[in-house]
Subunit: 710 residues, 2 copies
């Protein structure tokens, strides 16, 4: 669908210019210089010829078809130009100008006008507020970055500077480059997920590299990403995590940066390799586009000295990658070709065994990579620099080894990654490795991160769950009685359900909870309490008191008539003292819950991804350790298995120190019930089940709060 | 003291050679090529002249003084050679050969022999198992790494490959280099702390860069580091953290890699900037040697585009650095020189304001750096590349700006750090910045880490505590009665104190604990219990049962005569069932402790640093969240204030959700008491106070375990 836009056969430059510093000049110059394969049509009412090309007064005067318009004129001119483009039946337009929603209300109105013009004319928009786009396959360079290297990575970026950074890095690193670059800008028409779909279907694109500050259609993006990750890896850096970072992202593209925990977990569930560190973005994308994923979560290290091996082993351990023991056969073979001081366990240290002949690296590599315990090979140290560091003649052995590495990577479907501290020197051996699509890095840290990413992607492919989906089936299983509870609250002008209403609603959907009964007098309180087995708890019922404890509106563990009646009076008194105007509906009497493991569950509507659920252990685990996990809804009882494993403290669910475990199955059912509930009642904005007490068998939702959309 | 070794005026090469691939040839060649200022004496019984220099049969035949011997001969030859060196009154020797303790028992014996020869002859040793050393001030290059750049960093390294990596990196990065490189090797004579002391007193050394796998005299090192950090920063990477990493470090230099938590906290208390990521080692050392530390923990960002600023703000927030609001005056001034779309809050985004004149960067920088809220300036983006990316003529403006940056850094004592994605291109403006000692990085992540390190060092200088010391005053406050308890256990052949003995010992030193009494019969049990107020707890007393709970040897909360007597019998029975051969001394009767906040305190003897203490909250906080902190002893009640702040969960001590706080003062006193105890009784190997129950007022050590050295 975006073919005519991203693979345009003809481009009109609206705002073409003869002035060298203008974008309208540079774009034409670059298209010509790079050898763009399509037609170029300069448009400017004041010029006849620009750079040897006929210049048109108006886009409608061009005789041939125009697939794409590059518009370099200011913001206010865009709506009118788009209508002209529509007349000419242009498929797409790249809008460079800033000055839209990122500048506030006035800009936002102008942007809406632009989007309206696009929708009415059918012209699809890249941007506005973008540095442009490049199709490196057809040399359609609409950005003016020179010498951008071609390759197999599609670059999707929300910052022109980050695109420039990544393209510059690719140039310096050599060998791998890009199929496309798209600056999504304000993403006001074409969205992230549409580009993603296009790249998924592009046969030359092997991996997709993204820099995201915020996205407007997060849920559709997740669905597309989930589909895409099976076919090719997506590597993504999400910035704007911090408050100040958010401010800066906000003033940049005007997009909404969402909660980082939500975004990260959502992206990862969709199979995306999320990167925290911008240095790693390009190398990881490069590695993933050239190396097979590692499904065994294991790697062997081959080193020519202790230091690098030690650091690499530290890092890989931090990343949770196994460094498996080598087989006896492997060790024996290595022992035969290496000196006595060598270490033939993993990491393998040649200890001088390559000093006089670096080709021994290839001998070792071949032995190690055949070991069935080993998922791939990481070479660390000086390889590629023996000719530089020691003796020029050693370069020949290195080159011979490089060819053999190339043969190995073709034969076995195991990745090879090379760290060399000579990677920025002129080294023919390293160039040969690059020729064979073996990534070469000068950073140990990045090399290890690349290994970790291959494992992460391999783990995803292995554990991929076809049923995972991010589509929400609103009103799926709503119940008439449930809707009545909500409608009733709305009728009364409330956006908060009272505790017993919230409990009734979740009980309707199968959640284990004691709703209790509302008493309107002391006597009624005791009447209700008397019928309950064991002690009771009393809680104030008032639409005006959200935080019951703050109003001293909760009393626990009451048993006698005297206690209950006194308690009733006390609660009413405290509530009135807390808020004299509060409408008091009575006191909720509920059975006192047994002690259990405290769990907290919550849902909210995330700005980018819509409904999400939070799960964690209650008390200090959530309040101090922030040991909670966020998942995008919907979730099923089965998918929640993984969710429970996402927090450190979940280990308590299995019972520690010889204690019995807890009823995880019922807990998972409760989580999927929450998912169902949010799907069923679109009126719900937020829900808190806190605490939920979990037992060896069953659980009890002790308090529930539901807030409706206003 | 090491002057004659590290600043040697004459070097003998023992094992000098005419064969080009031999170290004994390369060393002489490099010394001559680099222009070593001292005398060079080749030594080899079989040669007369090497590389134009007279060759001596034997070191004793050299007529002039010899300060240093470089010994390139195999391990087994070393002891005899050292005795010859002693005869010649050589001050030091660099021993290249491997084959000592890193190769096991046989090598260990040879190494002891080498150390003995050194001690008897007074020759100080660098190594063995080292790549050598370089004094860049006198061009004494005993390693053979060519073109190592000179500068102000002293490099102290336990891996030759890491040294090569760092020297290579310095060469690529330009401008900053080294005063010395020392490969400590097996550290069998001269220790880390001795080198440190030497570098502290070297006026040309501005920072010290260390790569450590393990050290043999950790405590002396900490003391020296503490003294050094006040004068110049130490930057350190500790590797060998992981098990596999440890294996690799072990086979490399044979040194003992200690527990990473202990090492990291110890180093940081001594003011060392500990680095986790090897990519950051050199840039951080470079930054710390050229820029003033930041004492306000704050920075301003100046960017020419949103993406870089957003990422930088994210990272700095992660590192806990403040990005303060700029003053109204600053904002007003910036507003005057920047376009409307610019952001004049921190991060400042020029939004095209430098496109036609990059000198505007310097205008902005000058305004920002004058702001009193701001501790330093981080410039991120394209600076230095305007002439490359856009238009050659813009380079002039960049150069003008660079000169002004240079003037700024001289005038104000505020650091400037520049991130430029053109840092590996030929850019005169960036070279000018380097000339003015302004660090230029191509990585945003590393730039931010450098800012964080300046803040960390500034914070250390600000909070430096003169009383901190790492010297242990063994037997400082031992008490006769205390020693008696220990001696008694030893006399009985036990290396574990019984619970009541351990409690008696800590009580002697002032710890609040109820020792209880040991009952030998049911009746005695009730006799004792009756006199205690409230309920009691019964615990088995047996030198053969260390884990009382495992043996069902603990009963809680007993009150009546019947309960206590029955309990006594039950415990004895369980203990016998658990271990029929156990010597049972009776049952300890102690008052049942009130509920309180569970704390765990432990001490142990760390391999590298000696006695250390662990503190944390008990239960799941220690068992699952591993939220504990380790400090090297001794600690004082005052220094423990900071210690309590080291764990996340310590926030509970202050009371949360309106709860009252706990008695931190008594807790600190208990920690310093533990310190005193370990100092006083060198027999103690390990101590566990677990749990300690902490109250609003006071605390109770409920269980105590002390293990003695065997």
């Amino acid at each position: 669908m975006l073919d005519k836009v991203l693979d345009a056969k003809s481009v009109a430059i609206i705002g073409a210019s003869k002035i060298k510093t203008k974008r309208g000049y540079q774009a034409i110059k670059t298209l010509k210089a790079d050898g763009y394969e399509g037609e170029i049509y300069p448009v400017n009412p004041k010029e006849d010829m620009i750079l040897g090309l006929k210049c048109y007064k108006d886009i409608t005067q061009i005789q041939g078809d125009v697939d794409l318009a590059l518009i370099t004129t200011p913001a206010r001119t865009i709506p009118a130009i788009l209508r002209k483009c529509g007349e000419k039946k242009v498929s797409g337009a790249v809008i460079i100008a800033g000055g839209f929603r990122e500048l506030g209300e006035h800009g936002r109105e102008l942007e809406l006008e632009v989007v309206k013009a696009a929708q009415e004319t059918g012209v699809r928009l890249i941007g506005p507020n973008t540095s442009g786009m490049i199709n490196l396959k057809s040399n359609m360079n609409l950005v003016g970055i020179q010498n951008a290297p071609k390759g197999h990575i599609a670059l999707l970026c929300q910052s022109g500077n980050m695109a420039l950074t990544l393209i510059t890095e690719a140039t310096i690193r050599k060998h791998e480059g890009f199929t496309y670059y798209v600056g999504v800008g304000n993403e006001s028409d074409i969205k992230f997920h549409e580009y993603l779909e296009f790249f998924r279907n592009d046969p030359e694109t092997k991996s997709i590299l993204m820099y995201v500050e915020g996205m407007s259609e997060g849920r559709k993006f997740l669905q597309e990403a989930h589909n895409t990750s099976l076919k090719k890896p997506i590597v993504l850096l999400k910035s704007g995590r911090s408050a100040t970072g958010k401010k800066s992202a906000g003033s940049h593209t005007g997009s909404l940066a969402g909660m980082s925990e939500v975004a990260k977990s959502a992206y990862e569930r969709a199979g995306i390799i999320v990167i925290d560190n911008s240095d790693e973005l390009f190398p990881v994308a490069q590695t993933l586009s050239s190396q097979p994923p590692i499904k065994s979560n294991s790697i062997a290290i081959l080193a020519d000295g202790g230091g690098h091996a030690t650091i690499a082993a530290d890092l890989l351990t931090d990343y949770g990658i196994n460094m498996p023991e080598l087989s006896d056969k492997t060790k024996e073979k290595l022992r035969k070709i290496l000196p006595e001081a060598a270490s033939v366990v993993n990491p393998v240290d040649v200890a001088g065994g390559t000093d006089s002949d670096p080709n021994v690296f290839a001998d070792c590599a071949k032995i190690i990579i055949q070991d069935p315990n080993v998922g791939g090979l990481l070479v660390v140290g000086l390889f590629g620099g023996y000719g530089i560091r020691f003796e020029e003649s050693l370069a020949v052995g290195e080159e011979a080894a490089a060819h053999r590495f190339g043969a190995m990577i073709k034969k076995r479907r195991k990745p090879i990654i090379v760290h060399s501290l000579y990677s920025s020197y002129e080294s023919h051996a390293l160039d040969l490795l690059r020729h064979y699509d073996i990534p070469v890095h000068d950073s140990l840290d990045i090399s290890c991160k690349c290994v970790a990413s291959l494992c992460k992607y391999g783990n995803y492919l292995k554990s991929y769950h076809g049923k995972t989906n991010f589509v929400f089936d609103w009103r799926a299983k709503a119940k008439t009685e449930g809707q009545k509870i909500i409608d009733n609250a709305k009728k009364e002008g409330r956006n908060v359900l009272l505790e017993h209403e919230a409990k009734q609603l979740i009980k309707l959907h199968g959640a284990p909870t004691s709703v209790g009964q509302v008493a309107r007098s002391e006597d009624e309180a005791w009447e209700i309490a008397r019928k309950m087995k064991g002690n009771v708890v009393l809680k104030i019922v008032s639409p005006d008191i959200l935080h019951k404890s703050d109003a001293c509106g909760v009393l626990l563990n009451l048993s006698s008539a005297n206690e209950v009646k006194k308690g009733f009076k006390q609660i009413i008194k405290s509530a009135k003292k807390y808020n004299a105007d509060a409408e008091i509906r009575g006191v909720l009497i509920a059975p006192m819950a047994q002690k259990g493991l405290e769990i907290i569950i919550g849902t909210k509507i995330d700005e980018q991804f819509g409904p999400v659920i939070m799960y964690g252990l209650g008390g200090i685990m959530v309040e101090i350790m922030k040991d909670v996990t966020f998942w995008v809804l919907p979730v099923s009882s089965t998918s929640c298995k993984k969710m429970l494993g996402d927090t450190h403290s979940s280990i308590l669910l299995d019972g520690i120190r010889g204690q019995k475990g807890y009823d995880k199955k019922t807990l998972r059912k409760l989580l999927s019930m929450c998912s169902e509930l949010i799907e069923s009642y679109p009126d719900i904005e937020e829900m808190d089940l806190n605490p939920v007490l979990l037992y060896e068998n069953g659980l009890d939702v002790v308090d529930a709060r539901i807030i409706l959309k206003k």
